[in-house]
C-alpha cells in the first residue's frame, strides 16, 4: 500500500493526484481539474477538462460564461468512477449548492478532499456526509476556538426583529453572492419574512440560478427596479463591498448596515466594516464542527489547505493526530 502522500501532493499548479493526472481546485489553468464547489478561489476558468457536480458546472457557467472550460463532465453524487486507476467519488459537503467532497481511492488508501464544508443545517444544499478515510484534507477558515457560530435561524430572527423596530430605515444586508445570499433568503422565508427582498445587481444572476434549480426563495427583485420609496423599511441585499460604497447612498440617510458572516463573531471585524447589526452566520465549519468532523472521519493524517492552519495543526497534535499545513497558494483565507 502506497502512502497517500506519494500519489497526492501539492504541486506548483495546485493539489495534484499523480496517478490520476488531475488537480483538485487548482488556482491556475490545468488540463484536468476536479472542482469541489463554485466559489471563485476553488473554481477558476480556463481548464481544459472539468469534472464537477452539475450544479457547480451551472454556477461556473453563470460566473465565467458557457465556454469557461474546454469541456465539462458532470459527476453524480455518490457515484464512483475511475480515472487512470484512481477511484473518484463526489459526496455532499454541505457548504453551498452543488458543493462536494472528493473521495479518492488508490492502492488501498483513501483520501477525502473536502473543499469547504459545514455541518449546520442549510435549506439550500445537501448536508455533509462523513466518509471515513486515511487522509482528510480540510479547510481551516474558522479554525480558532473563538469561532462558534450562532444558530442561523435565530440570527435571521434578529434581523427580522430589527426590521420591525426600525420601520423607517432600510436594512442593507451584506452577503457573499454565492451561497450565503441564497441561504439567508431561504432562512428569512422560513422565519416568515414574506415581503419582497431587493437584490443588488451582482446578486441577481446566481439567485435566479438557485431558483431555476428548484430552490424556493420567494419574491426577489432587482433593487434597480425599485422606486426609492419602496426601499424604506425594506430589506436590500448586496455584496459586502457595496455596504459602504456610493451605491448604498440610495438607501436613505441612515440605513442599518447588516453583515452575515462567521467573521462577525469578532467585534473588530464588525466595526471595521461599519456594520451596525452583525449576524454570525457562516457557510464554513466552526471550531467544534472542524474537530468533530475530523474525529468522525477517523483519519490518521489531516492536511490543512487554507485558513488558520497554525491553530488547527496545534490542536490536532494535542489530540494525538498527525496534521500538517499544505501551504497551498491561491485560496482566500478571508472570503466569507
Amino acid at each position: 500500500m502506497r502512502p497517500v502522500e506519494t500519489w497526492l501532493y501539492p504541486a506548483s499548479l495546485g493539489l495534484y493526484c499523480e496517478p490520476g493526472n488531475f488537480y483538485i481546485d487548482p488556482p491556475r489553468p490545468v488540463v484536468r481539474a476536479l472542482i469541489t464547489h463554485g466559489h471563485s478561489d476553488h473554481a477558476r476558468s480556463g481548464h481544459t477538462h472539468v469534472l464537477a457536480t452539475s450544479e457547480t458546472i451551472d454556477i461556473m457557467k453563470v460566473r465565467y460564461g458557457a465556454n469557461c472550460a474546454g469541456d465539462f463532465q458532470a459527476a453524480d453524487l455518490g457515484h464512483a468512477q475511475s480515472i487512470n486507476g484512481v477511484t473518484v467519488r463526489f459526496v455532499p459537503a454541505g457548504h453551498i449548492l452543488g458543493s462536494a467532497q472528493i473521495v479518492l481511492e488508490h492502492n488501498g488508501r483513501r483520501a477525502v478532499v473536502s473543499g469547504d464544508y459545514k455541518r449546520a443545517a442549510d435549506p439550500t444544499c445537501r448536508p455533509f456526509e462523513v466518509v471515513t478515510c486515511d487522509v482528510f484534507v480540510t479547510e481551516a477558515t474558522f479554525a480558532l476556538p473563538v469561532f462558534r457560530h450562532e444558530r442561523a435561524d435565530s440570527e435571521a430572527r434578529r434581523l427580522i426583529q430589527s426590521i420591525a423596530r426600525n420601520p423607517d430605515r432600510t436594512h442593507l444586508l451584506g452577503v457573499y453572492g454565492l451561497g450565503k445570499c441564497q441561504r439567508m433568503i431561504a432562512l428569512l422565508r422560513a422565519e416568515g419574512y414574506d415581503v419582497p427582498i431587493w437584490l443588488h445587481g451582482a446578486l441577481v444572476g446566481l439567485t435566479a440560478l438557485y431558483q431555476n434549480l428548484g430552490i424556493d426563495l420567494g419574491d426577489c427583485r432587482p433593487a434597480s427596479a425599485a422606486a426609492d420609496a419602496e426601499l424604506r423599511g425594506a430589506l436590500v441585499m448586496c455584496p459586502p463591498s457595496a455596504l459602504m460604497d456610493r451605491w448604498s447612498r440610495r438607501m436613505g440617510e441612515d440605513p442599518v448596515r447588516v453583515f452575515a458572516s462567521g467573521w462577525m463573531r469578532v467585534r473588530g471585524r464588525a466595526r471595521q466594516r461599519g456594520v451596525e447589526l452583525p449576524l454570525i452566520v457562516s457557510d464554513h465549519a466552526d471550531w467544534p464542527e472542524l474537530l468533530d468532523t475530523i474525529v468522525e472521519t477517523g483519519a490518521e493524517d489531516v492536511w490543512v489547505t487554507h485558513g488558520r492552519d497554525d491553530a488547527l495543526v496545534h490542536q490536532l497534535s494535542l489530540m494525538g493526530r498527525r496534521a500538517r499545513a499544505l501551504a497551498l497558494v491561491g485560496y482566500e483565507d478571508d472570503a466569507e
Binding site: L144, P145, V146, R148, D254, R257, R265, V266, R267, G268, R269, A270, R271, Q272, G274, V275, E276, L277, P278, R308, D310, A311, H314, Q315, L318, A327, V329, D333, D334
Partner: protein, 533 residues
C-alpha cells in the same frame, strides 16, 4: 447586567455619534442607581476597583484553555477581555441568570483580593457570551466601544437638559456611582459643589492646516508658535491643591510631583506642553514616555528625566475666568503673570515672529531641532473654546522624512487585520567594521498605511517568501523594499541598531526597487535629531 450588556453591545457597533448618544441616554434614564452610576464610571474614569485584572484573567484561562490556542485567539481578536468572553466554556450545570450590576460591583469592592478570581468566574458562568464581554469590559477599565468620556457625560447632561460643560465643571468633585449627579440632573437635588479641588477645564485643540484654510488667514491676524513634541497638559492650581491633567482630563499629577511643587500656592489654570528638558535641551519623547503612567516616580527618574512645562495659555488667573478674552489679551496676561510669579521649571512658548507666510514657510521647512514637530497657528482674536472648534487654531506639522527599508519579519495584525500579515518589521543595511559584509538590522515596526489590495498583495508576498516561522511571526527573505515615513529619528539603547524611529508608517511599497539598493544605517544616523542649541 442584561440591560447594560445589551447597551454596551449595541454601542460597540453603532457607528453614528447620535445613535450612540441615544442608546446611552436611554440606558442612563431607565437604569436604577447605583447600576447606572457604575456603568457611567466604566465609560469615564473607570470603576474604583483594585483588582489584578490581567493576572486574574490569565489564571482563569490557564485553567480552562491551552496557552498556544489562547495566544493565537488573543492575537486574532485583538482584545483580551473579548477573547476570554468568547473562549469561556459553558458550565456543565445550568447556572442562574447573571446578578445585577450593582451587586457584582459591591461584592468586588468588599472582597479580599484573593477572592476576586472566584467572584469573576462565578459571574462569567452565569452570563451569555455578550454578557461576559460586557461584564469584563465593565471591570477591566477602558471598554473601547467608541464612547469617549465626554460623550458619556453628554448623555448624562441630556437627562437634565444641560450642556456637557456643566457636568465637566463639577466632575472632578464627584465620585462613582454618581448618585448626586443623577439626582441633580433629574431635579431632585442642587448642583454638586465643586469645592476647592482644582477642576479640569476642557482644552482647546487644533486642526491640521489645509490648503483651503490659507486664504482665510492673514499674517497680522495670526500668532505662530513652535509645536513642541511633548504631552499637552493643563495645570490647575488653587490655594488648596495642584493637579496636572492630560488633554483628555486624566489626572496625571502623581507622575509629575515636581510640577505640582512648582505651582504650590499659585492660583491659576494654565495650558502648556510637558517636556523632559535636560541641560536646557528638549530630550527625546521616549524619556517623557517613561515617566507617564507611573503611580510613583523614583528620585533617579526625577534626576535623569526632569519635567519641564512650556506654557501656551492661561484659562484662569487669580480665580478669574479669562477664556472669553481673545488670544492676544490672554497672551498678555500670561506674559505679565509669568514675569511676576516665575514658577520654577516653566518657561513660555515663544511667539515666532514673521511678516509673511512665505517667511513662515521657510522657518517651518528649516525646523529640524529636537522637540519641534512643526508650527501652531492661532488666531489672535479667538477666545479659548472647549473641544476642537473649526477655524481658530491650526497645527502645521513638518513634513515626514522617508527612508527605503527592507522587510524582515511579518506578523498577523490584531483585530480587524488579524487574518493578514500586516505588522511589519523592517531594517536597513549595516556594514560590519573591517569587512565588506552587509547585514540587515531592524530599525522599526509599523502597522498602518495600506489599502486592502496592497495588504493582500503583501500577504501573498510574505507567504511565498517565508524563510522561517516562529509562533505568529514569519521571517521573510530580504527582497521587498518599503518606503517608510517617520517624524524623527532618535538614539536608542533598546534597539540593536542604536536608533529608534518616531511614528514610523509605511509610505509606499517599492515592488520595483531591489533590496540591495535600500538605505544604510549611516543614512539614518545622519537624520538623528541634534539637541537644540
Amino acid at each position: 447586567m442584561r440591560a447594560f450588556a445589551e447597551t454596551l453591545d449595541s454601542l460597540s457597533t453603532t457607528p453614528s455619534r447620535n445613535g450612540k448618544l441615544a442608546l446611552l441616554t436611554a440606558y442612563l434614564r431607565a437604569a436604577p442607581d447605583p447600576d447606572r452610576g457604575w456603568a457611567l464610571a466604566a465609560l469615564t474614569d473607570g470603576l474604583p476597583l483594585r483588582i489584578g485584572f490581567r493576572r486574574i484573567l490569565s489564571e482563569l484561562m490557564a485553567a480552562r484553555t491551552d496557552p498556544v490556542l489562547f495566544k493565537l485567539s488573543r492575537d486574532f481578536v485583538g482584545d483580551t477581555a473579548e477573547t476570554v468572553a468568547l473562549l469561556w466554556p459553558a458550565p456543565a450545570d445550568p447556572a442562574p441568570p447573571p446578578p445585577r450590576l450593582g451587586e457584582v460591583v459591591d461584592e468586588l469592592l468588599n472582597a479580599k483580593p484573593a477572592e476576586h478570581a472566584a467572584i469573576i468566574a462565578t459571574v462569567l458562568d452565569r452570563c451569555t457570551v455578550r454578557e461576559r464581554w460586557a461584564f469584563l469590559k465593565l471591570i477591566g477599565g477602558a471598554p473601547r466601544v467608541g464612547v469617549s468620556a465626554r460623550l458619556a457625560k453628554t448623555a448624562v447632561a441630556e437627562i437634565g437638559g444641560q450642556d456637557v460643560s456643566a457636568i465637566e465643571e463639577v466632575w472632578h468633585a464627584l465620585k462613582p456611582p454618581y448618585t448626586e449627579l443623577f439626582a441633580w440632573m433629574e431635579g431632585h437635588a442642587e448642583r454638586p459643589d465643586p469645592g476647592n479641588v482644582p477642576v479640569f477645564r476642557p482644552l482647546m485643540l487644533a486642526h491640521p492646516v489645509e490648503d483651503a484654510d490659507w486664504p482665510s488667514l492673514a499674517p497680522q491676524d495670526v500668532a505662530a508658535e513652535w509645536k513642541w513634541d511633548g504631552i499637552r497638559v493643563q495645570v490647575a492650581a488653587s490655594a488648596g491643591d495642584v493637579r496636572v491633567y492630560s488633554r483628555t482630563g486624566d489626572d496625571i499629577s502623581p507622575a509629575f510631583p515636581e510640577i505640582r511643587s512648582a505651582f504650590a500656592g499659585v492660583d491659576v489654570v494654565a495650558d502648556g506642553e510637558l517636556l523632559v528638558v535636560r541641560d536646557g535641551a528638549v530630550a527625546p519623547f521616549n524619556d517623557l514616555q517613561q515617566r507617564l503612567n507611573r503611580k510613583s516616580v523614583t528620585s533617579k527618574m526625577l534626576r535623569e528625566s526632569p519635567a519641564h512645562l512650556r506654557l501656551y495659555d492661561l484659562l484662569f488667573v487669580s480665580g478669574e475666568d479669562i477664556r472669553a478674552l481673545p488670544f492676544g489679551q490672554r497672551r498678555a496676561h500670561l506674559e505679565a503673570w509669568h514675569a511676576q510669579v516665575r514658577p520654577p521649571l516653566t518657561d513660555l512658548s515663544a511667539l515666532v515672529p514673521f511678516a509673511t507666510f512665505a517667511e513662515l514657510e521657510d522657518l517651518w521647512r528649516g525646523a529640524r531641532e529636537a522637540g519641534i514637530e512643526g508650527l501652531m497657528l492661532k488666531r489672535r482674536a479667538s477666545p479659548y473654546l472647549a473641544g476642537r472648534p473649526k477655524g481658530h487654531w491650526f497645527k502645521w506639522k513638518r513634513a515626514a522624512l522617508t527612508l527605503d527599508c527592507v522587510l524582515m519579519y511579518a506578523q498577523r495584525g490584531s483585530g480587524k487585520r488579524s487574518s493578514l500579515y500586516s505588522d511589519l518589521t523592517f531594517g536597513v543595511w549595516r556594514t560590519s567594521a573591517g569587512s565588506n559584509e552587509r547585514e540587515l538590522v531592524p530599525v522599526g515596526k509599523a502597522y498602518s498605511g495600506f489599502t486592502d489590495v496592497e495588504l493582500r498583495d503583501l500577504d501573498r508576498f510574505i507567504r511565498a517568501n517565508t524563510t522561517e516561522t516562529f509562533g505568529p511571526v514569519r521571517a521573510v527573505a530580504p527582497k521587498l523594499v518599503l518606503e517608510v515615513a517617520f517624524d524623527a529619528v532618535q538614539p536608542s539603547t533598546r534597539h540593536k541598531s542604536g536608533v529608534a524611529m518616531r511614528f514610523p508608517r509605511i509610505h509606499r511599497i517599492r515592488w520595483d526597487k531591489p533590496a540591495d539598493e535600500a538605505d544604510s544605517l549611516d543614512a539614518i544616523m545622519a537624520l538623528i535629531d541634534r539637541p537644540a542649541a
